[in-house]
């Protein structure tokens, strides 16, 4: 059996894809695993495990040809054709496309494998994705939504894989290990703190002065440490600038394999860079992730339990990858003070959970302090350490869990997984609100149940009315009346704390419906959205009742 995994985005995406590679290796031990990655990241091939062959797509080279008037367009054409021919010759039994973009969809179509997962275009130019999880990437892009899943989980479920072990795993090279040994020779007795202060985007890092201050405060708080400032060869100047005024710092310019070995033997990593964070997630080092600019921790946070994430509390975070910071000042980075980062790092080194929670509360207005969690089913979450206990907050986690079950099509299965999911959810909620009395839980859950029951009933009624409307399409006034009522309901739901995500989706469909002249299409779309909301609220109710039972048993 031969399987190709396509990862045609950035380095971080390739590193996250190693989780899928390890699951594929486990599920198909004898299979030949190949990957297709962008040529500029070819060097990562040295540290990717489980793979028999790496193909590279010369994206930069082809783009250069296409953009240059003195190169022939056929040069680009033949380069793609050459690669496609090689891939077709392999005769893959399965292609898993983990790149959610159109280019990868055309490339997957060109490989012409009958069994694909992820975006693929058909000969009619229409695309399909093969899994509700990849559809989710397409449909649910609302940044204000709570229902955001980590890419590793989306890739895992989207690829149709089972198993809970979704760790990122990398290979250590001899050269990398030797480099780390040489770098650390003099500092064997010290706690080794690694700092990756540079990132490929300026808006994803802190100001150099802040780094200097942060390091000095940390050195004062933790005298037994040695700080190493990591950087890629193209970050040499920035690393030197950070080290300039502090003779106790060690600058380390390294490649990926060297970085992996260094991190593997380190005690704490403070990073703004996504790729370095994913490399660290493959080791046991403690990770402190500073999430600024376009860094979206909910999708790409450190995929390991116990990592700490800091994000400035600003409405624009996270911003888009495209372009620079749109604010007059780099607000999300400015909110994160040097002292706070140093104190959090110190708390992590001392494994002082209480200190972290105290800091989370103290800096609540400026910084969101989160801790990562991976449950026994392998699902990742980052939960805030200073959240106020309320039905609204509880609901946001129930909502997310229900969405996962919905994407897993649990409601279509004879035997549901509500119990197991409910137990995981209970544990997560208890981590978020550790000191709440069980009676408080029951009270909030009861209030939530009441609200969700109301919503579920209303949506059910709107679904039934829609069904009866199908037989009365010749009466446009009835349909218009229905739309008015539905809109009123959505506005009411929007005002509640619990159903914003549903009402937003429904309102969007209503808005689209005014532009669509095909009434059957409009009804179809509305029915889809209402059914989705109905199924989801049914799942939520099961989870809420399960949680109530769980907490009541304890009482």
């Amino acid at each position: 059996m031969k399987i190709l995994v396509i990862s045609l985005l950035r380095l971080g995406d390739i590193l996250m894809a190693t989780s899928v590679l390890r699951s594929l290796r486990r599920e198909y031990p004898g299979a030949e695993l190949h990957v297709l990655i962008n040529g500029q990241f070819q060097s990562v091939a040295n540290i990717i495990p489980f793979v028999n062959k790496v193909y590279s797509f010369d994206r930069a080279g082809i783009q250069q040809i296409l953009g240059s008037q003195d190169r022939n367009i056929l040069e680009a054409y033949f380069r793609i054709e050459d690669l496609v021919e090689q891939l077709q010759t392999e005769g893959y039994d399965q292609v898993v496309n983990l790149t959610h973009n159109r280019l990868s969809g055309w490339m997957t179509a060109l490989i012409a494998c009958p069994n694909t997962r992820g975006v693929v275009f058909g000969v009619n130019g229409k695309f399909s994705v093969g899994s509700g999880w990849f559809e989710y990437l397409n449909d649910f892009t609302d940044p204000s939504s709570d229902n955001v899943f980590h890419f590793v989980d989306v890739f895992h479920y989207g690829a149709g894989l089972s198993g809970a072990d979704r760790r990122i795993e990398l290979l250590e090279t001899k050269a990398g290990a030797a480099f780390a040994e040489q770098t650390y020779t003099k500092y064997a007795d010290k706690k080794r703190i690694l700092i990756q202060a540079c990132s490929n985007e300026n808006k994803k890092t802190l100001a150099p002065k802040k780094w200097n201050k942060l390091i000095r405060v940390l050195q004062n708080l933790e005298p037994g440490i040695q700080v190493f400032i990591l950087g890629a060869p193209n970050e040499k100047e920035a690393v030197a600038a950070i080290c300039a005024d502090n003779p106790r710092l060690i600058p380390v310019i390294c490649n990926l394999e060297q970085a992996y070995s260094l991190i593997k033997q380190g005690h704490l990593l403070i990073t703004v860079d996504t790729s370095i964070k994913h490399i660290a997630a493959a080791t046991k080092i403690k990770i402190l992730e500073i999430s600024v600019g376009s860094s979206e921790y909910r999708k790409t946070g450190a995929y390991t339990p116990g990592a700490v994430i800091l994000q400035g509390v600003v409405p624009c975070a996270p911003c888009s990858h495209r372009g620079g910071c749109t604010q007059p000042t780099h607000e999300c980075a400015e909110k994160i003070s040097a002292e706070m980062v140093a104190m959090v790092a110190s708390g992590m080194l001392r494994q002082d959970e209480m200190a972290l929670r105290t800091l989370a509360h103290e800096y609540k207005d400026e910084v969101l302090l989160l801790k990562t969690h991976v449950n026994s089913r392998g699902d990742w979450a980052a939960y805030p350490l200073a959240e106020s206990f309320s039905a609204k907050e509880i609901n946001s986690w129930i909502d997310r869990a229900s969405f996962k079950l919905y994407l897993q099509k649990t409601h279509e299965k004879a035997v549901g997984e509500y119990g197991t999911e409910g137990l995981e959810l209970k544990q997560l909620l208890e981590n978020i609100f550790p000191d709440r009395a069980k009676q408080d839980w029951v009270t909030e859950l009861k209030s939530l149940e009441k609200n969700v029951t109301w919503f579920e009933t209303q949506v059910g009624e709107f679904l039934n009315k829609l069904k009866s409307l199908l037989g009365a399409m010749h009466e446009p006034s009835r349909f218009s009346q229905y739309i008015v009522e539905l809109e009123e309901f959505c506005v009411q739901a929007e005002q509640s704390n619990y159903f914003k995500s549903y009402s937003r989706q429904l309102l969007l469909s209503i808005k689209d419906s005014s532009a669509d002249n095909n009434q059957f299409q409009v009804v179809k779309k509305l029915r889809e959205k209402l059914s989705h909301a109905h199924q989801r609220t049914k799942i939520e109710l099961k989870l809420i009742r399960g949680l109530q039972t769980g907490f009541m048993e304890i009482i």
Binding site: G61, D70, I73, R79, E81, L110
Partner: protein, 210 residues
């Protein structure tokens, strides 16, 4: 064309170095090292390709370096027939390892079977800087022909790739039009037929410039 340019050879420790019109075509100190640096600089661009069209044979140092690294299909185009004859006489092994076109008029270049073969799969045009400096007008004309994006020219260049040629014909675009990716996309949607492999490749190219 510069086929009448005075030609001399300078003997170096590493072999004969042609001097055309008083211009040395390689370093007289270390031509091999110079060739290695030249190919090193281009390597990431060319290492995965099938064919190379090299503009300028020079003293052949860069060709030898290429052949040392990979068995490319190499087509050498040179303006100076006299130089090519002299190089073949001094290094007859070139005849077996590369195809050489000497002094072919630019307008004829696309009809040469070796060029058609090179343009039927992945390729790159490598310009030997000193050779191009000696006969800039000839090589500019050759480059223009090889890089022209009119449909007529693309059809001519793709003679070695029948499915691609058929695809280009199916687009129903005027022959003198300079082909752009949006134009191909639009022409494909006009056809209203299922997309073949060639069409899918053009769509992938389209994504790369969006």
């Amino acid at each position: 064309m510069s086929s009448m340019a005075p030609l001399e050879f300078l003997n170096s420790k590493q072999g004969w170095i042609p001097v055309v019109n008083g211009t040395l075509l390689h370093s007289s100190v270390n031509p091999e090292k110079e060739a290695i640096s030249f190919i090193d600089a281009e390597w990431s661009k060319i290492n995965s390709l099938k064919s190379l069209i090299v503009l300028g044979v020079g003293g052949g140092f860069h060709i030898r370096e290429l052949l040392k690294r990979k068995k490319f299909h190499i087509v050498i185009i040179d303006s100076n027939r006299e130089l090519v004859d002299a190089i073949i006489e001094k290094q007859p092994e070139f005849l077996g390892s590369a195809e050489i076109l000497a002094g072919v008029p630019p307008a004829q270049i696309c009809r040469e079977p070796s060029v058609i073969k090179a343009l039927s799969g992945s390729y790159c045009i490598l310009r030997h800087p000193a050779s191009v400096r000696v006969a800039p007008f000839y090589y500019t004309a050759i480059s223009q022909i090889l890089n022209q994006r009119t449909l007529t020219n693309l059809r001519e260049l793709s003679q070695g790739n029948i499915p691609l040629q058929r695809f280009l014909e199916s687009l129903n675009i005027a022959s003198d039009q300079i082909l752009t990716l949006p134009m191909v996309e639009e022409a494909m949607s006009r056809r209203q037929s299922e997309m073949e492999k060639e069409g899918l490749i053009w769509m992938a190219m389209r994504e790369l410039v969006l």
